[in-house]
Each structure stands twice: as structure tokens, then as C-alpha cells.
Amino acid sequence: MKTIIKYTICLIAVASMASCKKWLDITPQSQVSLDDLYKTPEGFEEALNGVYIRCAQSDIYGDELSCGFLDVMAQDYTTSALNDALGYTQTQRFNYQDANFMKHRDSAWGGLYNAIVNTNLILSNIDAKKNIFKGNEYSLIKGEALALRGFLHFDLFRMFGSSLNSPQPTTGIPYVTKYTNTVTAMNTPAEVMFNILADLNGAKDLLKTSDPILSNTYVIAYPNSDSSTEASNDSLFLQNRRYRLNYFAVCGELARVYLYQNDKTNALANAKEVIDSKKFPWTAQADFLNTDAKTKDPILYKELLFSWYCPWETKHLHDRFLNNTSGLYLSQADAQYLYETNGVGGEDFRYKQWLTINSSGNMELQKYARNAAYLGTDNDQSYNLYPQAIPSLRLSEMYYIAAEASYDANPTSAIDYLNKVRNARGIGASVTANTKSDFTNELLKDARKELLGEGQIFYMYKRLYHNIVGQNGAVTVASDKIFTLPLPVNEIQFGNR
């Protein structure tokens, strides 16, 4: 009997050690599991911030989609086959079989969809957790996540889908709305546009009631300046709205999207909503022309509706442009041709402030320049007027959109919109355009000057199905071959495209 008791004790001891399934669920310290992250509103905030940080990495908006291969294809820079440090020479010639191009293209495609997966994870979890949010936060986060999904898909479509002005606008992209490891089927261009507009308009509705930027007390100005209230909210998450897809950014993006599908009424309405809000002031000449690097504003900060925040890329972006022939540069002739210095552009502030001659006699773009003396140190931010930002939507583009959208109905008003931008940049002469084609050319020319290094011009050519005007006037004829980028090999092979 005694023995039996002893046996029993032993068996219990052994068995109890083995029944610990729960004990095997481990929560790591430097990572967090999906279930844990979405337990609190902070988790959703962090997930949303995460999408923006992801987008600001150099494989997508941190580099390539802002001042990388898209700009190279728009013929914005001078390249040399002799010193091809950044590997863009073949890209500029639209050689889509080039290894460097394929690398950039693959990481852009993968990076954008990676960001999309992150928004989908937010969207697929937020409704079940609606009750954990206080105030307007649910609408704000969901609105921004929807806006991001539309925004990111729109850029994918602008790269890999057909131009809607193409003779055969047949190529779409997969519009992904689920977190899954199964393949999402290709959508037609119409389906893609429908989804983009649905997401963006959904976002606009949600943000209309929740975005602090709509408050009259939200005043845009340089950080730390008296009038700025951009960083005055108690919650860090609700500050600095212009680094996130705020209400006006969504309006701006909607204007872009509507114009892309030639819906001029809605494009104009959305562009005007931004312009008429008077939220975004033109940059004062004194700030643009300032000679003190510390207080100069070459990026025209207050005019930005939306930009990517990336102080960690400061040195990288600085070096990308200010690195002699190893960086991105323009030959003097190319720059002068671009800015029409022998014509209307003689006094253009943009040419004078943005382009400087370097030791090898080439011109370097100063848009992203930082105060060189403090580059790479921790003090970097304090020696600039504002943190490093990469423009994504700016006020001038709203004027361009308004101009283009109103030309058919009211050419005078259209020219007026364009003149507003030119005047703000020091071009006094009014636009002379007798035909729509003339007007479009003038618009394109000014957009090229204005948006140099911001990744929008290639899309503009593609949207207009317009021949690409290269340096010194060299022309590349518009065609689907150029405008519709081929899909990555992995996508074709493993997605059965």
C-alpha cells in the first residue's frame, strides 16, 4: 500500500510537469505579437506610425519614389555612363531589363505592398476594437489607414497600370484588402480606380469629423516659431498633421486621382477645397531667399499638404544630391534649359535658390540640403528651420490641378491659377497660351521646375500620355511600353500573372 502511494506521488509529479501548453506561449520582449499589439489604442497608433515610417524608408518614398528612378525616367537629371554610381544610366533610357532598374522596381513594388499589408492589418482589426478608442481616434486612425491604402495603391497603379489616356488602358494591379498568403487577382483599371476612390472618399468622410487640422486653432508655421500650433496638442499622436495623411492631404490626393481619370469637376472641387481653406500660406520670399543656411527654407515647408517625415535620412538625402558626379546632378546646360533662364526663367527663385554650381561645374539641387556643418551629428534638426521632410503633396500642385481641370471651361481662370504659382516663384510674366496644347506645355514646364526631385513628373507625362521632353529638348515618344512598367519576375512567377 505504501508503495502504491509512493508510485502515485511520482506519477502526479511527472504528469504535472508535462501539462504546460500555456507555458509554451512566449511573448518576446523586443517584438510584439499581432494579438498583443492590437489590445490597446496605443498599439493602433504605433501600427499607423509604423506604416508611415515604412513608407519613408529609402526603397520607396524615402528615396526611389521621390527622387529616384521615377525622376530619372522623367529625365530630371544628367547621367553619365562613365560614372554610374547610382545605377540610373540604363533607367534613363527606359531599359527595363537593366539589373539596376529591376532592383529598384522590385523593391518599390514589394515595399508598397508591404506598407499596404500593414494598413490592411490595421483595418481588419480596428472595427472589432472600436470600443477601446476615446474621442475621435477611431475615425482618425481608420480614416488615415483607408487613405494610405488608397494612396499607396494609386502610386502602384500609376507605375504598373495603364495610363487611362492610353489607346488601350487594359493593365491594372491587384488591389489588396486582406492579410493573407494567398494571391490576390489582378483588377482592371476601372476596378482599381473605383477602389482607390472608395477608400479615399471613405477616409475623407472619417477625417472630416476627426482631424485636428480642420480646427481654426491649428496654425501652420515653422516649428518653434510663435504662430505655429502644429505641435501644441497634448497627444504627440495628434500633432504634426502634415506628416500624416490629414484631411487636406486626402483632398489633394482625391484631386490627383480624379484628374487621373479625367473627372475634372471633382478634381477641381477637391483642389479648390484645399486652396480655399487658406490653411497653407505661400512661402515668404524672405525665407526662401534667406542666405543663412540655418534659417533658409528651400523646401517651401509651409506649402506642404503632406510630406514624409524622415530625419534619419537627412545625411543620405543630402549626400544623394550634393555628391558631385557620384550623386544626382544636372549639367549647367540642362539646368538652364529646364528653367528657361534665357527666357521667362531669368529671375526664377527656384533656379537661383535650388541650383548651385559644384566643383566639377555641374549643378546640384539644394532642396534637401541640410546645414552641412552639422550633418551626421545629433544636433542636425536644431540647425535647420524644420526637420527633414520629403514633399508628397504641395499647394502648388493644387493650383496646377485646378488650372488643368478648369481650362476647358474657363481658360482665363486656368491661366490665372498657373500665374499664381509663377508669381510666387519670381516669374512676373504672365503665361501666354493660345491653344490647349500650348497651355499644357507651359503647365508641364512649370511643374518640372517646381517638382524637381519629388517624383511626380513621370506620372504627369503618363497621365497626359505626353511625349517625355528630355534634357535639351530630346523627346521620347509616349507609349505603353515606356509608361507601363513590367511587373517583377517574382510577381509573375509566383502570382501566376
Binding site: Q31, L37, E46, G50, A56, I116, N181, V183
Partner: protein, 1148 residues
């Protein structure tokens, strides 16, 4: 309970139990006390007894309990002696024995730990441990003819008294006298065979074969017994009845082969335990070995980068190491003191390893350290002196004038080839170097960073105590400088063993061990840099100072700009304050409790906690060559300090219930147990830059974090819990069965598959125990087979969950951000390896010749590999169980004791293995990897180095390249064979096919052990043949060699120079890059003397004078010489070395 009844006799060997005293009945329990080997020197125990007319056997039993001594007697004799009455208080053993034998016809003898009771005035002993005798005085039929005399000694030559000598097949016997001599009367020397048996020694049978004079050497049993028992870490199983494949090697034997490297030593006993050749790190004492057992069962985890053979890390194929019951990593084993090891057991097949379940697929190595012995304080001291010398024989570089010749022949000074230079400029360059040579410069660069290094090791072991309480203290100090100047690894360790035995029912044991390791890398940098240096450069300036820039040369660009290029002296780095050191402190405490519930049932619990703190500090001086090219604007980024720290805590607990019983012919050894394990690791690190001064190497002087870097940190945790049962059953020692079942839960498995079952079944047949085999030539014939399912978890934790990572350093304007890192596959499972194993043990001539062939197959299913996703899913890939791999092989082990007598022993051993690895099935991701690799093969960084491919039906050891027909004698170009069989001069990645396989046909060790009187010599050769190897040296240092650096001497002598040359290597003036081709596949046959050992044991007479019980001097030489069919440079970053160890061991 009888704490000393643990003599490790296989239970099956007991011939007849009925007449043996109770003392001997407990042999079944011995298995659990194997670690408590005892040898008392003095009877410190006191005896108290108060009995009235009780049988002597009862008295002895009580005395045995009180003293721990074994008592040997025949119950018959004791019955004749009648009862005794005693009243003893605190009497010594001798007093007690005298008291109870007073007036009886009996006397006693104390031998070691055993009291032998014999009849007075009789020549015949009453009993021995090995043979219970039954006295029936039946007359022998044979007529006695002569008498035989002889001497019995132990292995040191000391005479052995009271050895029981019996004539086989009769009841006639005698015992030896104090001087070890014996006389056997009335015996027929032509026919008789004598059996010699003695407590603690191996029994020996010797056929007289006409001799009347004999010299017999008996060997200590402990050594043999270790090999008779398989320690699986949980169970101790009699080898005779075990059906698994396992190999046990004693610590002493391991030390004989290689006193400096336990793992290397183990591989010579079983080549299927294979240390991967590390041609990059050579004999760097700080390079951890990479080990596979019976082939690789996992694919490299990383499929995103192209993998070359040199960078292939197979840590996922490491066996599991179990030290005294708990799992440790390879570093712990690498840094163990070999003197402290009692035995190492290598478990290979499923029947042996299944008890480890999810950790078992790559084999298990069970290490047992020496437990303390009881008795008065005993000390042993071991001193080892190492000499290590670099082996530079594989380097054949050009001397100064040959080098310049080579440069000229290669066209370096020919303006027609070097466009952009005028012939005058080139001539100037040439004569500049020519002048250096004329001035007598011919620097032997490769000997600069190396040295002969001397290391030493002191080990002290103190032990003692009573039966109830024992202690052992081991201390070790060891330095191991490497052959690269300034490199080395020093270890300091101490182990404290305490054990407490409560009335034989409970046993508590605690082991505390503290290890400190300090290692340094050489400040001289990579050895390769010295191999590359041109011999016409001086290493110092005229005053003998080591200068940074030895020489300059001007390069002329096509646009007319001239640049002055420096030639940097690699020796300069060594003059700076740069360092690269790491150290760790490890504290391990293990507590074990044993409860003897009843005779055959034991409960054992162990708990261990180990804490390891590792620090790595590397400082690169701002003046180092690496910063020479930094511009003035980068001045604040010169110099770098790399710091990281890792804290690991491991908790390991076991609870086991052991059952051990012999009922009639049935023998059962069963275990039921569970274990639990948790590992936590916390890593922190950062890189700082910007140092102004060589002197200020403290991290506090750094200017900032390295550009773009932020502090780095990582915390991981894994947990494992398992329950298992294992049964070892035998019937009549003839029919054998092993069965194991285990369930493992691991935090690494997907949440849908948390619990995994593993199992094994083994059957065996000891044919030599069958009656019909009694007259066969076989002294042993055992057949066994086993199969089982084991697993391995070779992927990182959390891979099965969808995880978010924080952007630690990059906050967004509105706060911290988290991003999803992987697609969590909840269905992720462990890798399953199905094992099949067939083995035989064949012995002849009383097992003097043993042949043990084995055949196995390991089929691994569900290899964890990446499954490629279209990137539109947001991910490139996710982990899934796709892929199968098969390893089949055979092993053969032969041992032959050629000569065995008193002064001269000669043993021969050979073991050999062959393993064929086949990739049976792989995922699309791996197939895609092949394409990527083909592209990468054209990448400049991979030129000429074959990259790893995965192809179904091929092996992990297959070498891929383009087929080549050799060099065209007409023009010195290489002729390639395309996929379609056409010939071409143009290399193309699309023509890459399997061109060789590095798997040897046979790989193994053979050697001999010779003992002559006090001397012992043994040596082991390693050989492999039938495999192929890609001669990277030829590619890198002959054909792709940059003529601006020094090259292999064949570059000058064996390259094609003019039409008609039948050369192995292409045109000397052809500076185009050589790509991977079959031209560089060579036979890889190797013979190397891996170990040579010579020892001398001081004579008893001398040691006694010195107050020692034992004194030994030994010399071991490792990696003494090597011949190979392939001439290639080995030890690229760190050269290989020969090593010599001189050891002295003294026991007091």
C-alpha cells in the same frame, strides 16, 4: 541500501544467484550509482554493534552498512562458523572483524574496498566476486601431472595478492600470495585453461598450452565497465542488452588522443561525429567547431543571399550536448577541462536518442564528469605544457625576383596591355621594384604574423569524505595562445561537488561550477593579407621602424589625372592599440536529489541553473590602415569601438522514475520522466566611432555612435517541456527490446502544433548466448535493428507567430512605429527525421577481434524552408515545412588486440564511415534560389567560388560549375562544354551543372596502441578518399590572382605561355577572370597523422618514495603531418598548426 553495491557488472553475467550473499543481489541498482565510483583508502569509519547469537552474515551486513565496505564470503562457510555475540562501540573495522572472527575457523583480508572472509589454514578461498563456488568434492578424472607456477600483476606491474585462480571446467582453485605468485598443482598443462579473477579487475582466461610458467596482467575493471554501460543521460543501460547505436569513450582515452580539444578527440573514435573543416579559421583557438553527426538534416536557414561553401554555416545541424544531465552549448563543451571528464557517450540512432525527442535528430553527446570518491583527502595534479607551431607548408609563394618576373610575364609593364601608361612610365615602375630587389629586399611576409606559442594547463583535483558526505573540488587554469601573434584563449574554472547520502535512501548532490574565459584575436589581422604582400617590399624603413606606407605608385587615368597610391603595410596595424577581445563568465549550479523508494525503484530530480555573461570589446585605432583613405571631413569618424554584451540564463529541470528489475530470465530497465527547459537571452550592443588618439582606447573617448547606427538589442526566449518513457527489456540476455516514447512541447512550434510525439523501437539478438553457438568461432555475435522518429527545431523562436517589430531608432513625427515582420504560419511544425539503423557486433577469440558494421538511413521530412510569395502579398516569403532530405551511410569499426601479455600489449583499431546525402524534395523558394545563385555566380565578389545550389536528387555536398575540357594548347583559353554538349570559349551561368561531389567514399581513422612495460605509445591516422574538392587556391591565387599581389608559385611555372604548351592553367598574360569550372575539381584524398601519444608511468617503487600513488608523463602530438592529393591553401584567415602537449599527472 548498499551504497557500494554498485559494481557495474552487467546483470546478465551473474551465473547463479542462489548462493550469492544478499550483498551481491543489488546489482540491478548499480546503474544509478555509476557516478559515485568509490575507492576508499583507509577505514575511517567506526562501527557500533550490539548483538546476541546472530549469524555472521547478519553482522557483516550491518558492518557493511556502517562502513560501506563490500563483504565477500560463501554462505556455506558462514553457516559452518555458527553464530556470534558482540558488543562493539566505535570500533575500527579491523577491531570489529577481529572480534567477530575470534575463535572461528575464519580469517579476513581487506582488498581495496572489499573485505574477503576466508577459511583459515586453507589454500582455497571461499568465494570471489566473479565466481560463486560450490564445493562438492567430486574427484577429477584426469590424473595430475605437473604443477604450474606464475605471477599476477596489475597494469602498472605491481603484484596482485589474493587473486582467485581457477581451472576451467573444474572446481580446482587457488589464490595468489602477497608477492602475486601462485602455484597450481596436479594440472595438465597441455589441456587446462586457467581463469584469473579479482575484485575490481577484469577476469582473464588463459589456456596453458603446455606452459608451466605464466605471467598474467589483470586490468582494472572500471575502464572496461565504462564501456559496458551506455549512459543515455537519463538511463544507464547495459551495453549487452541495448539495441541502440552508441559509443562510450572514457575521459582518459579522449585525453590520450587530443588533450587540447575534446571534440576533435571524440571524432577520432567515431568519424560519423564530424567536425567540419574550417579552411578560413584554421587552428584559431577562438573558432567554434561546426559539427554534424551522420550527415546534415537541415538546410541553411538563409536563402536570401547566395551562399558559398566557406560561409555555409550549419549550426542547425549541431548535435545536442548533455553535460551531467542538462543541455549545454558547444562552447561549454569546447571549454571543458578534459581532465574532469569521466566519459563521453555519443548516441546516434533513434533507439538511443528518441528520449530527447525534438532535440534528437542530429545525435546526442552525453558527457559525465568525475564524481568525488570517498575516503581521506586525495589530491591529483595535472600539468600540461603545450607547444603549437604554425603549419605554413601549404603556402608556396613567389620570392622577390620570381614575383617581379611573374609581373613582367603577366604584362604589367607592357604599354600595349596597360593602356593609359606610356612605356617610360611602366619602365620606371619596373626599375623601381627591380632596385628594391637589388638592394636585397626579399621579405618573408607569411612568417611575420605567426609564432610558436606555448601554453600551459594546471589542474588540481581534491576529493574525499565519508560514505554519507563527499566532496570534490576541481580547479583549472589554462592558457592557449594561438599561432597568430597575440591571439589566444585562456580559461579558468572551478567545480565544487558535494554529495550527501542519507541512510542510502536519499542522495543529494550539488555541483557548482564557475568558468571564466578570456579570448583575444590577433591584432595582426587576416593572415591572407600577409600571403598577398609582395616580397620585394621591405617591412620596415631604413631605421628598422614599422611604417604604414611602404611604397607608393602612381596610376594614370585616361583623362590624364595622376593619382598616388600607397602600399600599406599590414604589420602597421599590429603596432597600434587596436584590440578585439571577448570574455564570458559562466556560473552553473546543479542540484540532484535521488530517492530510493524500494530496491528496484528510484525517483530522481535534477534542477540546474546556468548564467552566462559574455562581453565583446573590439577597438580599431584611428590610425589603422582601414582609415587611411578617410578624407579630412571624415576625421571625426576614424577609429571604432564595437561593444556588445549577452546575458543568457538557462533553467533545466528533470524528474525521472527508474525501475530496474530482474525476474527470472526477464530483465527490465524502464524510465518514466519529464523535463522542462527555459532559455533566455538578452543581447545589447553598439558601435561608436571617432577616436582622436591611439592611446585613448576607452569607449568613453568616442565621438558618437557610428554613422547610421543606433544601439542594438535583442531578447529571445524559448521553452521546452517534455514527458517520456523508455523501456529496455531483455529475455535471458538473448532477446533484446528497446522502446521509447516522448512528447515534446516547444514554444518554437506553431500554435496549432505545440505538442509533438516522438518514438523509437529497437530489437536485438545476442546470438552468441544461444546454446547452438557455444562451439562456433564467434565469441560474440549480436544483431540489432532499430527505427524511430526524432526531431529538430532549427528555426528561430516566434517564426510561427505574426510579429511586429518596432522601429527602435526611427521615430515618426507622431511617435514610435511598429511594423509587421513576417507572415506567421500557425501550422509550422518541427522537422521529423525517420531513422533506420542496422548493426552487428562480431567477436572472435574472446572478443580480441571485434568487428562492428552498421548501416543507417535518416529521412528528414518537413524541412523548414522559405516558401516564396508574390510580393503583392506584402511578403517575399514565409516559413513552411516543405522539403525532404535523406542521409544513408554505413560505419565499420574494427578492434584487434594482437598481443596481450604482461609486458607487451598491441592493439589495432580502425573505424570508417561513408554518408550519402540526398536532397529529396525542396520548395520553390530554394529552386528560385538556384536561379538567383546562377546570377550571383557572375557577380564579381563570387567569381571563381562555386556557390551552393539545391537540386532534387543531388547532395548538399555537390559542387556546381561549368564543365571544362581544359586549356586549349593553341591559345591558352579554357574550353567549356555547354548544356547541349557544344564546345565554347565563353563561360555562361546557364551552363552550370553538377561537376563534383565532396563526399568521400570512405573517411575514417586507424591506429594502434602499444604498451611495453611502463611505456605506452598510441597513434591515430585520419584518412579520407574517393571525394572531390574544388581547388579554390588555383583559382584565387593562380588564375584570378591580381598580379599586383603575391601569388602561388604555380602561377609562374604552370601557366600557359606559348602555343603548344599543354598547361593546366590559362595564359599567364590573360588577366580576364576565371569562372567556376570543372577544371578545378580535384581528387581529395588525405592522410594525416592526427594524433601521436607516448607516455611513461613511473614505477611503483619510485612513486611510493615520492609519496604518490601514481605518476605519469605523457607527450601528445596532434596534426603532425598531412599529405593530400590536392595542393591548396588552408587556413586563409588563420593558419593551421601542429600542436604538442607534454603532460604530467600525479596522484597523492
Amino acid at each position: 541500501m548498499h551504497p557500494n553495491a554498485h559494481k557495474k557488472m552487467p546483470p546478465g553475467r551473474w551465473p547463479n544467484h542462489s548462493k550469492i550473499s544478499r550483498v551481491m543481489k543489488l546489482t540491478a541498482v548499480f546503474l544509478f550509482f555509476a557516478c559515485l565510483q568509490v575507492s576508499a583508502r583507509v577505514n575511517g569509519q567506526r562501527i557500533s554493534l550490539n548483538v546476541n547469537t546472530v549469524p555472521l552474515s547478519k553482522v557483516f551486513k550491518s558492518m557493511q552498512q556502517q562502513t560501506g565496505y563490500d563483504f565477500l564470503y560463501s554462505s556455506e562457510t558462514l553457516q559452518q562458523a555458527g553464530n556470534v555475540s558482540l558488543n562493539l562501540k566505535n570500533a575500527s573495522l579491523k577491531e570489529a572483524l577481529q572480534a567477530c572472527l575470534k575463535g572461528k575457523d575464519l580469517s579476513y583480508k581487506i582488498q581495496g574496498n572489499t573485505v574477503i572472509i576466508v577459511k583459515k589454514k586453507t589454500r582455497q578461498p571461499i568465494a570471489t566476486v566473479a565466481q560463486a563456488t560450490r564445493y562438492t568434492l567430486d574427484e577429477t578424472v584426469e590424473k595430475p601431472v605437473v604443477s604450474v607456477t606464475g605471477t599476477v600483476v596489475d597494469s602498472t606491474g605491481a603484484p596482485l595478492a589474493s587473486v582467485f585462480v581457477k581451472m576451467k571446467g573444474t572446481q580446482k582453485s587457488t589464490i595468489t600470495k602477497d608477492d602475486g605468485t601462485f602455484e597450481f598443482k596436479d594440472i595438465d598443462p597441455a589441456k587446462a585453461t586457467l581463469i584469473f579473477s579479482y575484485v575490481g579487475f577484469q577476469t582473464q582466461e588463459i589456456a596453458l598450452a603446455g606452459r608451466t610458467q605464466l605471467h598474467v596482467t589483470l586490468h582494472m575493471k572500471t575502464e572496461v565497465l565504462d564501456e559496458m554501460v551506455i549512459n543515455t543521460g537519463y538511463q544507464q543501460i547495459n551495453k549487452e542488452s541495448f539495441t541502440g547505436t552508441a559509443l562510450t569513450v572514457s575521459g582518459a582515452d579522449l585525453k590520450t588522443v587530443n588533450p587540447q580539444n575534446l571534440l576533435k578527440s571524440l571524432s577520432t573514435f567515431d568519424p560519423s561525429f564530424r567536425l567540419m573543416d574550417n579552411t578560413l579559421q584554421g587552428s584559431n583557438p577562438n573558432a567554434m567547431p561546426n559539427i554534424t553527426v551522420r550527415g546534415a538534416t537541415a538546410l541553411p536557414a538563409n536563402t536570401t543571399d547566395a551562399i558559398s561553401r566557406n560561409t555555409l554555416t550549419g549550426t542547425s545541424n549541431m548535435p545536442t550536448f548533455i553535460l551531467d544531465g542538462y543541455e549545454v552549448d558547444v562552447q561549454k563543451v569546447y571549454d571543458l577541462d578534459i581532465n574532469n571528464i569521466k566519459s563521453v557517450t555519443l548516441l546516434k540512432d533513434a533507439a538511443a536518442t528518441a528520449v530527447y525527442g525534438s532535440r534528437a535528430a542530429n545525435g546526442v553527446v552525453v558527457i559525465v564528469t568525475n564524481p568525488p570518491k570517498e575516503g581521506k583527502l586525495q589530491a591529483s595534479y595535472n600539468f600540461e605544457n603545450y607547444l603549437t607551431t604554425p603549419d605554413l607548408s601549404v603556402y608556396h609563394v613567389l620570392n622577390a625576383s620570381q614575383k617581379l618576373d611573374y609581373e613582367k610575364t603577366a604584362g604589367l609593364y607592357d604599354a600595349a596591355i596597360n593602356k593609359g601608361y606610356t612605356q617610360d612610365q611602366l619602365n620606371e615602375l619596373y626599375y623601381h621594384k627591380y632596385n628594391l630587389i637589388l638592394s636585397g629586399v626579399n621579405t618573408d611576409w607569411i612568417s611575420q604574423p605567426v609564432r610558436n606559442s606555448y601554453g600551459q594547463k594546471h589542474s588540481i583535483y581534491l576529493e574525499g569524505g565519508s560514505t554519507a558526505f563527499r566532496y570534490g573540488l576541481a580547479m583549472r587554469y589554462q592558457t592557449q595562445p594561438g599561432v597568430m601573434k597575440g591571439s589566444g584563449r585562456d580559461r579558468l574554472s572551478t567545480d565544487l561537488n558535494l554529495s550527501y547520502n542519507l541512510n542510502n535512501a536519499f542522495l543529494f548532490k550539488n555541483t557548482l561550477s564557475v568558468t571564466r574565459m578570456n579570448s583575444k584575436e590577433s591584432p595582426y589581422g587576416n593572415f591572407e593579407d600577409y600571403v598577398n604582400m609582395n616580397p620585394y617590399y621591405p617591412k620596415t624603413d631604413a631605421d628598422g621602424n614599422i611604417i604604414q606606407v611602404i611604397d607608393t605608385w602612381v596610376s594614370h587615368a585616361s583623362n590624364g589625372t595622376n593619382t598616388v597610391n600607397p602600399v600599406l603595410n599590414p604589420l602597421y596595424n599590429s603596432t597600434l592599440a587596436s584590440f578585439n577581445k571577448s570574455n564570458y563568465t559562466q556560473i552553473v549550479d546543479m542540484l540532484a536529489a535521488d530517492w530510493h523508494i524500494i530496491n528496484s525503484l528510484r525517483l530522481r530530480g535534477t534542477m540546474s541553473i546556468s548564467q552566462t555573461t559574455t562581453d565583446n570589446n573590439a577597438f580599431t585605432s584611428p590610425f589603422a590602415n582601414a582609415y587611411y583613405y578617410y578624407t579630412s571631413s571624415q576625421a571625426n569618424q576614424r577609429g571604432q569601438y564595437n561593444y556588445n554584451n549577452q546575458n543568457e540564463t538557462v533553467l533545466d529541470g528533470n524528474l525521472t522514475l527508474n525501475y530496474n528489475k530482474r525476474i527470472g530470465k526477464h530483465f527490465l530497465n524502464a524510465i518514466l520522466g519529464s523535463n522542462i527547459r527555459s532559455e533566455k537571452s538578452d543581447y545589447k550592443g553598439f558601435v561608436a566611432t571617432g577616436f582622436t588618439n591611439d592611446k585613448f582606447s576607452n569607449i568613453g573617448f568616442a565621438n558618437s555612435y557610428a554613422s547610421g547606427s543606433t544601439p542594438d538589442g535583442d531578447r529571445t526566449e524559448t521553452r521546452l517541456v517534455g514527458a517520456f518513457t523508455s523501456v529496455n527489456y531483455s529475455y535471458d540476455d538473448r532477446y533484446l527490446l528497446d522502446f521509447t516514447y516522448r512528447q515534446d512541447g516547444s514554444s518554437n512550434f506553431g500554435s496549432n502544433n505545440r505538442i509533438a510525439p516522438f518514438n523509437a523501437l529497437g530489437i536485438g539478438w545476442n546470438m552468441h548466448k544461444e546454446a547452438f553457438m557455444q562451439h562456433s568461432p564467434f565469441s560474440r555475435l549480436k544483431i540489432r535493428a532499430s527505427t524511430g522518429l526524432t526531431g529538430s527545431v532549427s528555426f528561430s523562436p516566434y517564426m510561427s507567430q505574426t510579429m511586429y517589430n518596432y522601429y527602435m531608432s526611427n521615430w515618426y513625427a507622431t511617435g514610435a512605429g511598429a511594423i509587421v515582420t513576417n507572415f506567421g504560419n500557425n501550422n509550422l511544425e518541427w522537422q521529423k527525421t525517420r531513422n533506420y539503423d542496422l548493426g552487428m557486433e562480431i567477436g572472435f577469440m574472446g572478443d580480441r577481434l571485434l568487428i562492428m558494421p552498421r548501416y543507417y538511413q535518416k529521412l528528414t521530412k518537413g524541412l523548414i524552408t522559405d516558401v516564396t510569395l508574390p510580393p503583392s502579398t506584402g511578403f517575399d516569403s514565409y516559413k513552411a515545412n516543405i522539403g525532404d532530405m535523406r542521409n544513408t551511410g554505413w560505419e565499420l569499426n574494427i578492434q584487434y588486440a594482437v598481443i596481450r601479455n604482461k609486458d607487451f600489449n598491441l592493439n589495432l583499431t580502425a573505424n570508417m564511415v561513408h554518408n550519402t546525402n540526398t536532397i529529396v524534395k525542396i520548395s520553390d523558394a530554394l529552386k528560385a534560389y538556384n536561379t538567383k545563385v546562377d546570377d550571383a555566380q557572375s557577380d564579381p565578389s563570387n567569381l571563381g567560388a562555386p556557390l551552393l545550389h539545391y537540386k532534387e536528387g543531388q547532395s548538399l555536398n555537390t559542387i556546381y560549375g561549368v564543365r571544362s575540357l581544359g586549356i586549349d594548347p593553341e591559345n591558352g583559353k579554357e574550353i567549356f562544354v555547354k548544356q547541349n554538349g557544344n564546345l565554347t570559349y565563353d563561360w555562361s551561368a546557364s551552363d552550370i551543372v553538377p561537376i563534383g561531389n565532396s563526399t568521400p567514399k570512405v573517411e575514417g581513422y586507424f591506429g594502434s596502441n602499444i604498451r611495453y612495460k611502463q611505456f605506452n605509445v598510441s597513434f591515430t591516422f585520419y584518412t579520407k578518399f574517393g571525394g572531390q574538392s574544388y581547388n579554390q587556391t588555383v583559382v584565387d591565387r593562380i588564375e584570378n590572382a591580381d598580379p599586383r599581389y603575391n601569388v602561388d608559385s604555380r602561377a609562374l611555372s604552370q601557366r600557359w605561355q606559348k602555343p603548344g604548351d599543354h598547361a593546366l592553367y590559362k595564359n599567364i598574360a590573360d588577366l580576364s577572370t576565371t569562372q567556376v569550372s570543372s577544371r578545378f575539381i580535384e581528387k581529395d584524398n588525405v592522410l594525416e597523422l592526427s594524433s601521436f601519444y607516448l607516455s611513461y608511468d613511473a614505477k611503483k617503487s619510485l612513486t611510493t618514495k615520492l609519496g604518490m600513488s601514481n605518476l605519469r608523463f605523457a607527450l601528445t602530438a596532434n596534426d603532425l603531418f598531412r599529405v593530400s592529393s590536392i595542393r591548396t591553401e588552408r587556413g586563409i584567415n588563420y593558419p593551421y598548426a601542429h600542436s604538442f602537449t607534454l603532460a604530467m599527472t600525479a596522484n597523492f
